[in-house]
């Protein structure tokens, strides 16, 4: 186990929730993830350098939901981070090994449906998936079958947003290739054979995450003023909002120059507002 870093130092980009170790191992290798903790039967792997974290949930939607929550809480995962549930699934059609992005997840038990993720149509084919409580062997509908996705989809969007939550499934069994013939080794191979496509998907998701981080981030220079002056909650929000407008209007100006004469929260806010107002006549879009 690696020495625990301060969780505030971990800048995550993508969190993986994967049911089984044979499914997770290729991702652990790909991103050089190291065991971070192994509590509550949810082993967590992290690489601080590239911002990937992974939890092995075990089988079933409840465990998937619990592991997602655990990972979020353990690493204090930020709102802009992408979440991926990767795993194997049954399908009515060969070939085994095809990768799909699931864009509709239907929980057979609760009858609820979820529509996760921005559709990455240019990279990967889409499919509907049913989450079932027992392995499906009849392949009764022309959809994918798994046992985790609905639990993941119920929870993960609360920690990020629906469009940054992705369900990726690889066909592992079909009527012609029954579920009983799948070994741990086969599962790992199925993931391995899709690594190139997965990398393209991850690259796209990382770009979305980066844009979302930029949108939500409050720059460091703002925080020094929270330490220096007393801000009520409402003033704190107003300062952040006004700062964002000010920064967008004057990207090259320095906050310390504008706020040099301010000595209270409200004066700091009004200094920023004054600069905006004085620029009205020359306003450019």
């Amino acid at each position: 186990m690696i020495e625990l870093p301060d969780i505030r130092d971990i800048e995550l980009k993508i969190c993986w929730v994967i049911a089984l170790a044979p499914e997770a191992n290729p991702i652990i290798d790909l991103f050089d993830l190291r065991l971070f903790s192994n509590e509550l039967d949810f082993p967590v792997y992290v690489n601080q350098e590239n911002g990937h974290a992974l939890v092995i949930s075990g089988i079933g939607k409840t465990k998937a939901a619990a592991a997602t929550t655990y990972l979020k809480t353990l690493l204090n995962v930020k709102k802009y981070v992408g979440w991926i549930n990767l795993g194997i699934a049954g399908f009515h059609l060969e070939p085994v090994g095809r990768l799909f992005q699931v864009i509709k997840v239907h929980d057979i038990g609760s009858k609820r449906s979820y529509f996760p993720g921005l559709r990455l149509s240019k990279i990967v084919q889409h499919q509907t998936l049913y989450t079932v409580s027992q392995p499906e062997t009849a392949y009764s509908d022309s959809v994918l079958f798994d046992m985790e996705a609905s639990g993941f989809c119920e929870i993960a969007p609360m920690f990020s947003c629906n469009e940054l939550v992705f369900v990726l499934k690889i066909v592992s069994d079909t009527p012609e290739s029954p579920i009983g013939s799948i070994s741990k080794k086969t599962i790992t191979q199925l993931i391995h054979q899709n690594i190139e496509k997965l990398q393209k998907i991850i690259h796209t998701i990382e770009k979305l995450v980066s844009d979302e981080k930029k949108r939500l981030k409050i720059p460091e220079e703002v925080f020094q003023y929270f330490d220096k002056y007393h801000f009520t909650k409402s003033n704190r929000n107003k300062f952040i909002q006004t700062y964002k407008k000010w920064k967008s209007a004057f990207p090259n100006r320095k906050l310390e120059n504008t706020l040099a004469t301010g000595n209270s929260a409200s004066k700091l806010i009004s200094s920023l507002e004054s600069e905006l107002v004085s620029a009205i006549k020359e306003w450019k879009l």
């Binding site: 967008s248 006549k281 020359e282």
Partner: protein
């Protein structure tokens, strides 16, 4: 291009749904129960979803026709609007739809017949009143026409009600549906317009102003009544020259008799909507302007609004009569 269609099970066999699916033959079709399962849900991110919206085919069950908000109409005694579609293929930065829905997917209500029945009922109830119906409140009236065919049906319908006006509000230059038929005197094709360099920055994915102006002049030349909508008015350095030039360009070489009406309106947002939109695009200079908040409405403030309104009014009066000019205050 739309790559995925989500269709409510109950509309899959509807002839309009079938037509749309046929027109988008490369799209995958997924069944859903109700459009609300996936539209405007909590935790959705409009900005990301806008990168690749899906089309949802649904049935609308009620509220087919609604009274237009106060200050939206022209000179009719009563104004109504209807929305056969939610959301728009364009991505205009000032658009209220960004703050209205958390979802950028397009919803098309395929039961057009119910819209026309409701419009017909409204007309019957208001026989002694002048009426205008506005299409394009929650979407663009023509931008999606090649796929939906709604405007064509609406034109056929309104042909039978010559004393009632229909306004098709648009930024689209797709006007074949109109040009292939004789003009309908009670149907106004109203173009949303702003100075070219402002539209270039703000009207993402929409046709350029030059192309819109050409399209509206062609329609006027072919006998269609056209409306000019300078709404919202956008403030920036040198706005007077920009609007003055735009107005001059439009009124040069246009069949002036076919200019049905001209309206202008300020940039305004309900406070919560503004908050939502600015959080989606915090770096956009449109939203870093020091706006004023009064009575729950965010705007440029009375002084700027008044200045812009008076200027537009006086510029427009150089080219057209006062009675054709309206100030929209929604």
């Amino acid at each position: 291009m739309i790559d995925s269609i989500f269709a409510e099970r109950e509309v899959l066999d509807h002839p309009i749904a079938q037509k749309v699916i046929k027109r988008l033959k490369h799209a995958d079709v997924f069944e859903i129960e109700r459009y609300q399962e996936m539209f405007n849900k909590r935790q959705q991110n409009f900005r990301i979803q806008k990168q690749n919206p899906a089309l949802i085919l649904a049935r609308k069950h009620d509220n087919f026709v609604l009274p237009a908000p106060q200050g939206f109409g022209l000179d009719a005694q009563k104004n109504y609007y209807f929305s056969h579609m939610y959301n728009c293929i364009y991505d205009c930065r000032y658009c209220f739809l960004q703050g209205m829905y958390s979802s950028a997917n397009y919803v098309l209500f395929v039961n057009y017949e119910d819209f026309f029945k409701a419009i017909s009922d409204t007309i019957d109830k208001n026989t002694d009143t002048s009426l205008t119906f506005f299409s394009g409140y929650d979407c663009d009236s023509l931008a999606f026409e090649k796929i939906t065919g709604f405007a064509e049906k609406a034109l056929e319908f309104f042909t039978n009600f010559s004393s009632v006006e229909l306004e098709l509000r648009t930024k689209s230059i797709v006007s074949e549906t109109l040009l292939k038929r004789s003009p309908i005197s009670n149907c106004i094709v109203a173009y949303s317009l702003s100075p070219s360099n402002l539209a270039g920055v703000l009207d993402n994915k929409a046709p350029s102003i030059e192309r819109r102006v050409n399209a509206l002049k062609t329609l006027a030349k072919n006998g269609w009544p056209v409306g000019l909508r300078f709404d919202p008015l956008i403030y920036c350095s040198g706005w007077e020259n920009l609007y003055s030039q735009l107005i001059q360009d439009i009124f040069t070489d246009i069949n002036i008799d076919k200019v049905h009406s001209v309206s202008h309106g300020p940039l305004r947002f309900p406070k919560e909507m503004y908050k939502k939109i600015t959080s989606l695009y915090p770096d956009d200079k449109l939203f870093s302007f020091p706006m004023e908040t009064k009575g729950g409405i965010v705007s440029y403030g009375t002084d700027i609004e008044q200045e812009m309104s008076l200027f537009l009014q006086s510029e427009l009066e150089k080219y057209t009569t006062k009675k054709k000019i309206f100030r929209c205050l929604v």
